[in-house]
């Protein structure tokens, strides 16, 4: 489905920590979108940054299955009973940042990836 990727071919190794961007590219308490190379091909990922929170970084699918549009990074971040979630900006379903599961519809789960800071760099394992 996706046709473009920013990442060079050598990044297509099995499972690696890929450098995505720097801390300065992030928006606090909100999300940005990026390309990620995965075993199944390039994927659009939403990266959320919650400074001061127990887990500061989350990487979750940017594609919203309900609207079939790539928009998750533009949703509002919040929590439901303490669990961090993002609300899809189109039809407002909530997805748990921890595991990508949808609060309103158990049958839907977004992909998530391990993500961390490496110094100033943001790296994702895929």
């Amino acid at each position: 489905m996706n046709t473009a990727t920013a990442l060079k071919d050598e990044a297509h190794t099995d499972v690696t920590w890929q450098t995505i961007c720097t801390k300065a590219d992030l928006v606090t308490f909100s999300g940005v979108a990026a390309w990620l190379a995965t075993a199944e091909g390039p994927a659009q990922v939403a990266i959320f940054y919650l400074p001061g929170h127990a887990q500061e970084l989350y990487a979750i699918d940017h594609h919203d299955p309900f609207s079939d549009a790539n928009v998750i990074a533009r949703g509002i971040v919040g929590d439901i009973k303490g669990e961090p979630v993002v609300a899809s900006p189109i039809y407002k379903q909530h997805f748990r940042l921890e595991d990508g599961s949808c609060v309103e519809d158990e049958s839907v789960t977004l992909r998530t990836w391990p993500v961390r800071f490496d110094g100033e760099k943001v790296v994702i394992e895929a």
């Binding site: 606090t28 308490f29 549009a69 949703g75 509002i76 971040v77 919040g78 609300a87 407002k92």
Partner: protein
């Protein structure tokens, strides 16, 4: 433990209509499936559907959405559903029912075969294009026939006939109703009511012919059919729908020798048993105490009684009330109890007739004037609920019963929920009384949703929704239950409380507010609400770092997200006035960035399909040409629509365009609980439709009349006249106060219309606060508005001059190329989402 199938009794239900299905639901809910193995036969190929709302099949609903249940539901509960399989005979000797497929043994049978439309025995009644109105298939046939027709006639001017007439009208046919009796709806209304109804219906373009008996139908000259009446007058038409009453489908019962009534109907007793105690009958096929009940609620009550009989319970059918509340061709008609006053000797009448507004109301009261025996309403059913409560509960009437039907400025006098006795029926579809509601509340229900879930109240026709809510609210308050109004789980405050906290403590960021007055991270409810409050108070750019994460995506990117993730660009065109130069720029920008353009209802031009990463460049060019943001994305002032006014229009008495531009520039950027729309008309002809706006202004010879709290959209509401003949200055000041008071006290996402409807004290209170300054808030509100006006800046101009803010408009942080999944196709010479 469930009983093994072999020892269960075999129950066969014949007919899968509304009542037959209701019985199935009752069987499931009351645990009867432990005792019975159930098989249901339906002659139609559709599973039971909502016949009451059948006509909506023509106004957009499909068979699926009218369905009352699903095949899965039947399967899940082990009920065998055999649709499209009519029962041909009941063999009472062998205890079997027979279809063309097989013979099925039974222990008990329930007949729920409903009725069929009566077609008068007129020669020619079976011609092609002579149809009836009862099933989905009938409607398919009517739709097909209407395609080749220009005119349609409904034979029968009763409830169903008028509904059918409306449907024909909706299919673009020239429609007439032919009624045998001297008036329409002879069952429900009297001569005067019928006359009014005729006027109303004729004004909708439907021809009404009463006292007409059709003699025969033959080939027509100008249309397919010619109807010849008793006086040799004729009427030509392409399509005829018969709606001359219903007859019970009692043929199975007749054939197997059950007792049937003289004029049809399977005779049943209070237990719904027929003359053969193995066989029961319910719904429109059943004749109880010499009566057929052609409404769904009595059928449901029979289903309950039948269930009780099957389970050895005590519930009996005790007759049912035939009061009805209808909207026919958009005309309200209501009838309660003995509406004609001919069943109660000595009854007295009160009647009210308004030929201008076309309303008619009649009360039938006992000779001592204390009890309501019946009522009839044409034109306004607002009076129905209260009258029904008096009737149903035998409440003593007020000293002057006429007050119940006389017009008053606030509509019908409502009977407060506390005046109702415990036995008062609130929901008649599911037979829920006030006592039942109190019981669920006593058992721990603390909100409307739980009460609805527990009692099923208001889940039938929904007509009782308002009454139910007021009873629940009243009972909760009476028990000292504080109805939880918190905005969300992160703040134990209402929006108004948060607004006051922000104002009083001068809190300027969400972080500070949640730290001091809430907990957690917030969510997509409280964040935008607080962002709006902060903007209303301080009007700092919403794209500032502290505010960005709070906004809905529309506010974050200052554009409306469309369904494929692209955005619309809406520059402000104040008052709808635009120079040719600017018009050219809009076109050029749209061409350059491949945008779809449309003139909107708000008198401006929207550009659709902008990609996130193009937004800054697009706005750069627009701002260069003198445009500014139109706030189409915000809960804020949208547009001030205007008519062309005295500058061009020969009727205009003031410069409505000039005023519209003044107002739009004054209030642009004001953030509020919801969007706000204005309209300004240059004279009383009201071409700008200002009375459908939150703020409507209409020019007079002496100044401006101000209307407030109107709405278009899904729930239209006429704005109310608030002040007259204001000069420009007075107008600004009044609107300043009004808007700030709304911003301060409304709930989140509450338009002015809903706010006004929930405002205690209503319009009079609002006038006192705003015009008479009864709370002494006037100056403060004006000052607060001045702050917003002074701090206005175009958010887009601010954003494109700040590289930090522009960072957000990258499609991807690690690739400058656009999202390849956004694909467009073209239509009517422009782009649209694929």
């Amino acid at each position: 433990m469930t009983t093994p199938a072999s020892t269960k009794q075999r129950l066969i239900i014949i007919g899968n209509g509304m009542v037959g299905h209701h019985l199935v639901e009752q069987l499931v809910e009351q645990g009867a499936l432990d005792r019975y193995q159930v098989t249901v036969f339906g002659e139609e190929r559709h599973l039971a559907y909502d016949r009451v709302h059948l006509s909506e099949y023509f106004s957009g609903r499909d068979a699926d959405s009218l369905a009352l249940s699903t095949a899965d539901y039947y399967a899940e509960h082990g009920i065998e559903l055999r649709l499209n399989e009519a029962v041909l005979t009941i063999d009472r000797q062998a205890n079997e029912v027979v279809t063309d497929q097989d013979r099925y043994p039974y222990d008990r049978v329930v007949l729920a075969t409903g009725s069929f439309p009566f077609v008068p025995p007129i020669p020619g009644n079976d011609r092609d294009g002579c149809l009836v109105y009862r099933t989905l298939e009938d409607l398919d046939a009517i739709r097909a026939a209407a395609e080749k027709a220009n005119t349609g006639v409904v034979v029968g001017g009763g409830l169903l006939g008028l509904e059918a007439a409306n449907a024909l009208r909706g299919l673009d046919l020239d429609t007439a109703v032919v009624e045998f009796a001297p008036r329409l709806m002879p069952m429900q209304v009297d001569t005067e009511g019928g006359e009014l109804l005729r006027e109303k219906i004729e004004s909708l373009g439907v021809q009404v012919l009463t006292e007409r008996a059709t003699q025969c139908i033959e080939d027509g000259d100008t249309a397919r059919h010619r109807m010849v009446f008793q006086d040799d007058k004729i009427l030509e038409t392409d399509l005829i729908v018969f709606s001359a009453g219903i007859r019970p489908r009692d043929e199975l019962a007749r054939d197997c020798g059950l007792e049937v009534g003289e004029r049809g109907g399977v005779v049943i007793d209070d237990q719904c048993l027929t003359s053969d105690p193995q066989i029961l009958a319910i719904g429109e096929v059943a004749l109880w105490n010499q009566s057929i009940f052609g409404l769904v609620a009595p059928g449901y009550q029979m289903a309950k009684a039948a269930l009780s009989t099957l389970m050895g319970g005590e519930t009996r059918f005790q007759g049912a009330d035939m009061s009805t509340k209808l909207k026919l061709l958009g005309v309200d008609v209501g009838s309660i109890g003995d509406a004609h006053g001919n069943q109660n000797p000595g009854a007295r009448n009160f009647r009210y007739l308004d030929q201008i507004k076309q309303e008619y109301r009649k009360l039938v009261v006992s000779s001592d004037g204390k009890q309501l025996l019946g009522a009839m309403l044409v034109g306004d059913n607002g009076y129905f609920d209260t009258l029904m409560q008096y009737y149903d509960n035998g409440l003593e009437l007020p000293d002057d019963p006429a007050s119940l039907i006389l017009p008053s400025s606030e509509g019908a006098p409502a009977l407060g929920p506390d005046a109702l006795p415990e036995t008062a029926t609130i929901c008649s579809c599911h037979n829920v009384t006030k006592g039942d509601i109190c019981a669920t509340i006593d058992a721990g229900a603390v909100d409307l949703a739980t009460v609805k879930g527990d009692t099923k109240a208001s889940s039938g026709c929904g007509g009782c929704a308002a009454l139910l809510k007021s009873v629940v609210d009243h009972e909760l308050t009476a028990r000292g239950v504080e109805v939880d109004q918190s905005i969300c789980e992160h703040f134990a405050h209402t929006r108004q409380e948060l607004y006051d906290i922000v104002r009083v403590e001068g809190i300027k960021t969400f972080g500070e507010l949640i730290e001091t007055h809430g907990h957690g991270l917030g969510c997509d409810i409280c964040k935008p609400a607080v962002a709006s409050i902060l903007a209303s108070c301080f009007n700092e750019p919403i794209t500032d770092a502290a505010h960005v994460p709070l906004q809905d995506t529309n506010d974050t990117f200052m554009a409306n997200m469309q369904k494929n993730g692209t955005y619309s660009v809406v520059p402000r065109i104040a008052g709808g006035e635009i120079t040719p130069d600017k018009l050219v720029v809009l076109g050029q920008v749209a061409q350059k960035y491949g945008l779809y353009t449309k003139v909107t209802g708000g008198q401006r031009i929207d550009l659709f399909g902008a990609r996130l990463e193009d937004l800054p460049d697009i706005w750069g060019e627009l701002i260069e040409a003198g445009f500014e943001t139109g706030h189409a994305y915000g809960k804020s002032l949208r547009t001030v629509k205007s008519c062309v006014g005295s500058t061009w229009c020969r009727y205009g008495v003031q410069d409505s365009v000039g005023m519209a531009i003044q107002l739009e520039n004054r209030y642009k950027g004001l953030r509020a609980p919801h969007k706000i729309k204005f309209g300004v008309s240059g004279c009383t002809r009201e071409c700008a439709e200002a009375q459908s706006k939150d703020i409507g202004i209409i020019a007079t010879e002496h100044g401006w009349n101000l209307y407030v709290c109107g709405n278009g959209g899904m729930r239209p509401r006429h704005a109310e006249l608030f002040a007259t003949d204001l000069n420009d200055e007075q107008l600004y000041r009044t609107i300043d106060r009004f808007l700030m008071f709304y911003v301060r006290t409304a709930d989140r996402l509450q338009r002015t219309s809903v706010w006004r409807e929930n405002l205690e004290g209503g319009l009079d209170y609002l006038k006192e606060v705003i015009l008479d300054d009864s709370l002494g808030l006037g100056d403060e509100l004006e000052r607060q508005m001045q702050t917003v006006i002074d701090n206005y800046q175009c958010e887009w101009a601010d954003a494109i001059s700040d590289p930090e803010k522009l960072k957000r408009f990258r499609s991807f942080v690690n690739d400058a190329r656009p999202d390849p999944d956004i694909i467009f196709t073209s239509e009517r010479g422009q782009l649209r989402p694929a």
